[in-house]
Amino acid sequence: MSTVWNAILSPGMFSESFMINTWISGTIVAVISGIIGFFVVLRGSAFVAHALPKGGFAGAAGAALLGVNTVIGLALFSVGGALSIGWLSRRGRHDVVTALILTFLLGTGDLFLNLHDVYAPEIYSLLFGEVLGVSGVEIVDTAVLGILCVAALVILYRPLMLASVMSEGAEARGIRVRQIEMCFLVIVGLATAITVPIVGALLTFSLMIAPAAAASYVTHHPMRAVGMSVAIAVVTVWISILVSYDTGLPVGFFVAAIATAAYGLARGWRNLRSRGRLSARDRQKLSEQTS
């Protein structure tokens, strides 16, 4: 029995200092992504959530070229990208603009990498993620910036909800929908800049979409959905770190796979339930007709 436990929880998983940092930072990222993801899914901005982390990568490449801290480049590009998407979008539709800004950012990223000429693995690890190897200082930075993002969302909560669910109604109530959208995009950009250096663009994106989408199938109540989304994201990250540590395979794969499985389960459960409800209603109808 103890050998099985040893295989699952390999020695050092909770005692090595770098693993402890991994657990903490992974959890922080999951909480931030779970909360922001709720709004991303509600507003259907999956493309933006994909584009900003990926585009921020170009900024990191630029910073590496200039010899500056990559996080600064990343933040500059992802927030800049968010601002330009918000500025160019029309009537809440921004898929075309997102595509254009994303390709432009990646194009400049290609240029920076090309000029740099050094094969930079740390830049690619930004794309696919490397949770192992986070320093203690980074954790504090992440936590502080993450709390800022969440606080901004709490302040924006009511107007943002209104603007997302019924933008015309919100406008009639005097809410400046465009400004609210802009703020939201900047928050996503900022959150991206915090989470990407820790877990990579792919992980940030997976954690923002699938857990929140799964939660949206389970409950319609906003607060419960946020909680659910955070819970799914955190559990996903924990299992992924565990399995990744055991197998040595990339974390990104496990996070994506587990989060998608959660989404599939939630969707299937919802389907089953609605079908059950329908049949109950049918039965009632039938009994009414026969009586």
Partner: protein, 314 residues
Amino acid sequence: MKKLLHVLFAPGFFTNASVGHAVLVGAVVAIISGVVGVFVVIRGQSYLGHALGDFGATGASATFLFGLATLWGFLGAGVISGAGSDVLGHGHRRRGRDVTTGVIHALVMGIGALLLYFDTTMTNVTGAPETILFGSIFVFDPSLVPVVVVLGVLTLLFLLILYRPLLLSSLDADLAKARGIPVRWVSFFFMCCMAMAVAQSSLVIGALLSTALLIGPAATAVRLTKRTSLAMVWSATIGIAATWLGILLAYDSYDWPPVGRGWPVSFFVTSLILLFYLVSRFRLRHPLTVARETQTESRRKEAIRHEYSVERHS
């Protein structure tokens, strides 16, 4: 005079074989992406159009691992995952559709990360992520040219057959259903068209430029004219212009600092495409243009409806 020519076209531009290939293939890709792109933009499927490139990249990583031809990886993964997003996203409005695309996108990219990990650890190919992500129009297998051309012609033929039902179901799905058009199948077949277009373009010019050429020129063209067919011509033209100018600038940039390195084509093409789009958005505001612009969107729908009914009744 000759000096000026040399500044514009660095010596050897017209005789260089790989430039010749790039110009030819770039034009083919720009035409197909431009034509398909108009529908992508009208239907609001830019995200799926971009995701298909990443799906294809995952397929390419898989074929890298098994040593198959990359084309089949691109096509297979594109069609399978695209079909997945199409089926799962059905019945959702645009917002929900993008979310389901996002879920599948993340999953496929996760699998891609795993495959890339195997690629780099088992086959010892260091440049794999860079090649798959960015690609390069100057470096590709010339034997692919006929494949790309055939695939492109097939895509266009396919789109031609789909054209009318697709137009109506993109515009007004309910009306299309009432007229007996199988909207779901039309949407699925169009997704296949997109997957083919994206597969061949990401194969030769990389996933990055593939998205740029699919969305950018079409988004610009749709702002220039309200007729769908004319928008396709504009879109292809803009795409070709951006690609050729990009190739020229990249060729010239060998003389720019840092000398001898050259700047990547993708940088020039994406910047040019963004520039064209911005110009179409913020061109000189004549009072007449502003008045016209506010009407364009509703007028385009009206025009398509009219176009369709005329074709239908004649």
